[in-house]
Structure formats: structure tokens, C-alpha cells
Amino acid sequence: MTPLADIEAAITAVGPLPDVHAAADKLLRLSEEVIEHWVTARGEEPTSELREGFRLLALHRQGAKGDPSFNACRETCREIVYHYNLVTMQSELAETTNRLEMMKMISSHLYLFVSGKMQVAALGEFCCSAKPIRTSTDFDSGTTKEA
């Protein structure tokens, strides 16, 4: 597995030539590795299963189990898959270079979000309501207890 710190540069280094197919494969693999890091850091074995034909989506689902804030990157993963399909299934089109470039940006976003979240677990907890709603610890802590 590529070290997390090296993934950003690896994504940036992916170029369209000579083979856009290979480039899209590489970006998809790097995106999977980003989530593998997240899953591994949670003490789990990254799944090798597929979801809707993609391991990335299965990995995301695994990473979000018990941590709803991780859903803040669910659409990002789906967009990576969508762009992968666009690039690999319509690689003869003139837009392919642009689409690959977009896929790189989306992959970078995934990397930035996940690596940020690995430093500060609370990242995304406001934005996507990460904290499980209604936990006993929530109820027992803080002001409400004394109210």
C-alpha cells in the first residue's frame, strides 16, 4: 500500500498519456488505497468485496460503518467511479483528457478529506452530522445532565 503521505503526489503525477485507461485505473487504485488507510487505522481489514462492481464503493461503505461522518465523502467516491466509467468506456471522445483531469481532482479531494480526518477525527462532524444521534454518553455528558 502506498504510504498515505505519498498518495497526494502520486495522484498529481498521473498523466493522460500514453494510456488513459491505465491512468484511470491508477487513480481508482490510489483512491482505494486512501480508504484502505482509513479502514486500517480503525483496526479493520480492508474489504476485497465489490459494490456495484467497484471495490472503492465497498471500501467506503466499510469505512462509514459506525461513523456516519465518513459519508461526507460518499458522493466523492461515487463521482470517482462515474468519471472512471466515462474515461474508460468512452476513451475515444475528445473530452476524455478533461474527464481524466476531473477524476484526478475528485481523487485529490478524497485524499484531502480522508487524510484530514485521520489527523482530526472530528472533521466532518459538524458538516455531515457525524456523531451518532442519541448515544447514552451524549446524554450523560455536558450541560443537559445538570439542567
Binding site: 458522493e75 481532482m105 479531494h109 462532524e125 452530522s129 444521534i133 442519541r134 446524554f139 455528558s141
Partner: protein
């Protein structure tokens, strides 16, 4: 009463951000409402929705704070709809509504705190919380908006950026993903619909609900800058001239980190950032100042002049 009629007069909950960094959103929302003949009645003596500071420490206290806003609207103002343009406030009020409908412990805590504070306890279902997008979409609609357009936004390519709180978590928004005409949590489109009705050309934008890094803008500014820079570059690559926003946190984050990216990373992305209400207001014939363009951090006037909107 139809939804269209119901939304013609709503309780307006601006929230803290719209009195500070998001003041242009406040100004433009009110100006658009006035222009469209919609009545906004500000919630009396409103309080913080609980935002992230309270929610992260004690989610049930956040539920109470949001419930108080709804209680004032329902019990002291006799309103049945609360409109919150800020994604954070909208999200928190919806979350409180969900909690009070589904969690007896939350009901108990809210009742206890409401009694202590000396106001009527909010009961789930007393008001409906909506976003500014729902408000215009349902009260006026695309056709109604198109009829009122004086300065078409044609020739302006827009990337619509919704941020993450408008659609997540999906279970607190039961009205979304409810079939044709409803908002989608995975591919939101209400802002796209409204701006298209005003003549804008929406671009395909894959990061429309991606994280802007708002949550760690203070703890890790470099990360926020990189996330924003990525959003700006993706919008540019998608062909956009403008990123339209509907959240004050995202908006100020995009504007501030656009400048920070120039200073710290030497990366300049020439793309304008405007609230969707500012774009709609100008399409309805309002001058840029009326919709607070001068209050934005970035300067869009030259661009707006070139597009015939200023």
C-alpha cells in the same frame, strides 16, 4: 392551503452567520423575497441554533437551542413555517425536529430546559423548517421566476455548490429523495433549477456536495485551503465562470481560501463566488449593491458589468 401559499409568509431565521460574515446572504435573501412579494417575518429574539460548538459538546443542548427557535415561531408568532437560509441552521433545526419526533430522551431534556427558560416546549410537527431554496422553488417556482426575470443570467456558466450540510444525514430530511420534483440528497438540483430559470447555464460539477474544509479552517488552515482550491479548480475545469453558494460557511470559506491559496500556494483561480440569492436578485433587476455584492470578500463587479448585470 397549498405549499405555494403556505410559503408566501414564513418565519425568517437568519442565524448568527448572516449577521456577520454572511451578511450579503442576509441582504440578498431579504431583497429577493421583497422583489418576489414573499413575506419574511424574523423570528423574535432568536438564539444560536447550537452550531458546531454546542453540538459537539452536547447534542441534546443543541436540540434544545434549535427547538427554542421553532417554539418562538410556533407559539409566540403563530407561524407554521421557519425558513433558514444558512445550511448549518437549517440542518440543526431539521435534526432537532427529527430528534423530538423519534427520541423520548430528547423530548424530556427539551421540556426540562424549556420550562427552566420559561417558554413553551416545542412539540415535533408544530412548524416545518425549510431552506431558502425550498422557499423560492415552492413559493414561486421556475416558471414564476422566469416570468419575473428582467436581466437574464444567460451567458453565465455556473457551478452550483451545495456543501455538505444541506443533504446530510439524509434521514433528517424526509421530504428529500421523495420522487419526482423533490430534492435529491446525492445530486441536489434546486439551486441549479432556480438559476437555470433565471437564464444561467449550469455546468456539470462533481464536487457539489464535497467537503469545503470548513470544520478545520482554524485547526488546519492548509488543509482547508487545499480542499477549497480543489473545488475552485474543479469548477473552473467544468467550465464555470461563477460558483453559486447557498451556505454562509462554505461561501466565506471559498472566498477566504481563494485568497489564501494565492498567497500561500501561489495558485490563482479566476472564478467568481456569489450567493445564489445575489444572482437571482440581479436577474430580477436589482442592483449589485442591493444584493450585497460589495459585502463579498472577492470583487465580482467587473465580471458583472461585462455580463450586463451591473
Amino acid at each position: 392551503m397549498t405549499t405555494k401559499d403556505k410559503y408566501k409568509k414564513v418565519a425568517y431565521y437568519p442565524g448568527c452567520a448572516l449577521e456577520g460574515t454572511g451578511h450579503a446572504y442576509n441582504r440578498s435573501t431579504k431583497a429577493v423575497g421583497k422583489e418576489l412579494g414573499l413575506d419574511l417575518v424574523e423570528v423574535k429574539n432568536w438564539n444560536c441554533c447550537g452550531a458546531m460548538e454546542v453540538k459537539n459538546v452536547d447534542p441534546k443542548l443543541q436540540t434544545y437551542l434549535s427547538s427554542r427557535v421553532m417554539s418562538v415561531a410556533a407559539n409566540e408568532m403563530d407561524m407554521d413555517v421557519v425558513m433558514a437560509p444558512c445550511n448549518g441552521c437549517y440542518h440543526n433545526l431539521k435534526k432537532a425536529e427529527y430528534d423530538l419526533k423519534n427520541d423520548p430522551e430528547s423530548v424530556e431534556v427539551v421540556d426540562k430546559l424549556s420550562k427552566k427558560a420559561g417558554h413553551k416546549t416545542y412539540e415535533s410537527g408544530q412548524v416545518e423548517t425549510i431552506h431558502a431554496l425550498d422557499w423560492i422553488k415552492d413559493a414561486i417556482g421556475e416558471d414564476g421566476l422566469a416570468e419575473r426575470v428582467k436581466n437574464s443570467l444567460s451567458g453565465i456558466k455556473v457551478a452550483n455548490y451545495y456543501g455538505c450540510m444541506y443533504t446530510r444525514p439524509r434521514h433528517i430530511f424526509p421530504e428529500k429523495d421523495a420522487g419526482p420534483g423533490s430534492e435529491s440528497t446525492s445530486k441536489p438540483h434546486f439551486m441549479d433549477d432556480l438559476l437555470a430559470a433565471a437564464g444561467a447555464e449550469n455546468v456539470e460539477f462533481p464536487l457539489k456536495t464535497a467537503c469545503c474544509g470548513g470544520a478545520h479552517t482554524l485547526s488546519d488552515s492548509d488543509m482547508s485551503t487545499k480542499l477549497v482550491l480543489n473545488i475552485l479548480k474543479a469548477a473552473k475545469l467544468a467550465g464555470a465562470d461563477v460558483i453559486a453558494t447557498e451556505c454562509p460557511t462554505c461561501h466565506s470559506g471559498l472566498e477566504m481560501h481563494q485568497i489564501r491559496a494565492e498567497k500561500t500556494l501561489g495558485e490563482t483561480v479566476d472564478i467568481k463566488i456569489l450567493y445564489f440569492t445575489q444572482l437571482l436578485g440581479m436577474a430580477l433587476g436589482l442592483k449589485p449593491k442591493k444584493v450585497g455584492v460589495h459585502e463579498n470578500i472577492s470583487d465580482s463587479i467587473k465580471f458583472l458589468k461585462a455580463k450586463g448585470l451591473a
